[in-house]
């Protein structure tokens, strides 16, 4: 049917979801979508993404405080640093689009960091995840789940957004989450 409708390349994933070995995302399609109306400017969407990344960084940093094993603490600190770098890239992008002389203070004033990447509340999530944090493997699995949710959310935002530049920014964010997932997967193999 798709090929008959002008679709040029159509593939069927053999084995479907059951054959997929990577991290899955879950939850309703509307989850976290209250943050986006579809008519946001590129600046709006960068601020939103920055807030989400900051939420995730906070989560990793706070989780570091309660981790017992040194190995787990190291992994969590690394994850927090990754999010910090992600935030820096978003700020650079904002300056490139808006005004090069924007200060980090004025930028952060615009950012709402209450909801974290994936549309979760960081404090609630931290509380709920405590029992799962027994070793570095648990933490990494959890981080991979978060990054998969974040990637999925950025793609849903992209789907909803009407502005081509906003879509591009969101695709880039999703690409970065995909790359985080891969890094986490590699780290997971090492420990």
């Amino acid at each position: 049917m798709l090929t008959g409708q002008g679709f040029k390349q159509v593939y069927n994933l053999k084995g479907g979801i059951a054959a997929w070995q990577g991290q899955a995302a879950a939850g309703p399609a509307e989850m976290g979508m209250m943050l986006v109306k579809g008519d946001e400017t590129p600046q709006d969407i960068i601020c939103l993404a920055y807030g989400l990344e900051e939420g995730l960084r906070k989560f990793y940093a706070a989780a570091t405080q309660m981790a017992i094993e040194a190995e787990v603490t190291t992994v969590l600190s690394q994850l927090a640093e990754i999010e910090e770098r992600h935030k820096q890239r978003l700020f650079d992008l904002y300056k490139a689009i808006d005004a090069a002389d924007t200060t980090i203070e004025s930028f952060e004033n615009k950012v709402n960091s209450e909801l974290m990447e994936g549309g979760f509340d960081p404090d609630k999530l931290l509380e709920a995840s405590k029992p799962a944090f027994k070793n570095a493997t648990d933490v990494l699995s959890f981080a991979m789940m978060l990054e998969a949710q974040g990637m999925d959310l950025y793609m849903r935002y992209a789907d909803k957004s009407e502005d081509a530049q906003v879509k591009e920014i969101l695709y880039k964010m999703a690409d970065e989450e995909k790359s985080h997932l891969k890094s986490l997967g590699d780290l997971f193999e090492k420990i």
């Binding site: 049917m1 069927n12 994933l13 070995q21 899955a24 879950a26 690409d175």
Partner: protein
């Protein structure tokens, strides 16, 4: 009507090919299409999938970009 009827002339992609495809393709350059039911999508999906349940696909084809490769499951 089953998935084979919907995706007539489709090409199968195994998980190894799929992993390699998504590792080397930019997000936004392809469509990952979940044609299962909403409850299945909500339970577990490949991150970044777009949900269009099979029974509604015919009426919602305009939501997809025919220029982009579509990988369906």
């Amino acid at each position: 009507m089953g998935i084979r009827d919907i995706f007539s002339n489709f090409t199968n992609m195994d998980t190894e090919q799929f992993q390699s495809f998504i590792d080397t393709s930019r997000e936004g350059s392809f469509t990952l299409l979940d044609v299962r039911q909403p409850a299945e999508y909500e339970g577990a999906r490949i991150p970044g999938s777009q949900l269009i349940p099979l029974p509604t696909l015919n009426d919602r084809l305009q939501e997809l970009d025919p220029e982009k490769p579509v990988i369906a499951y």
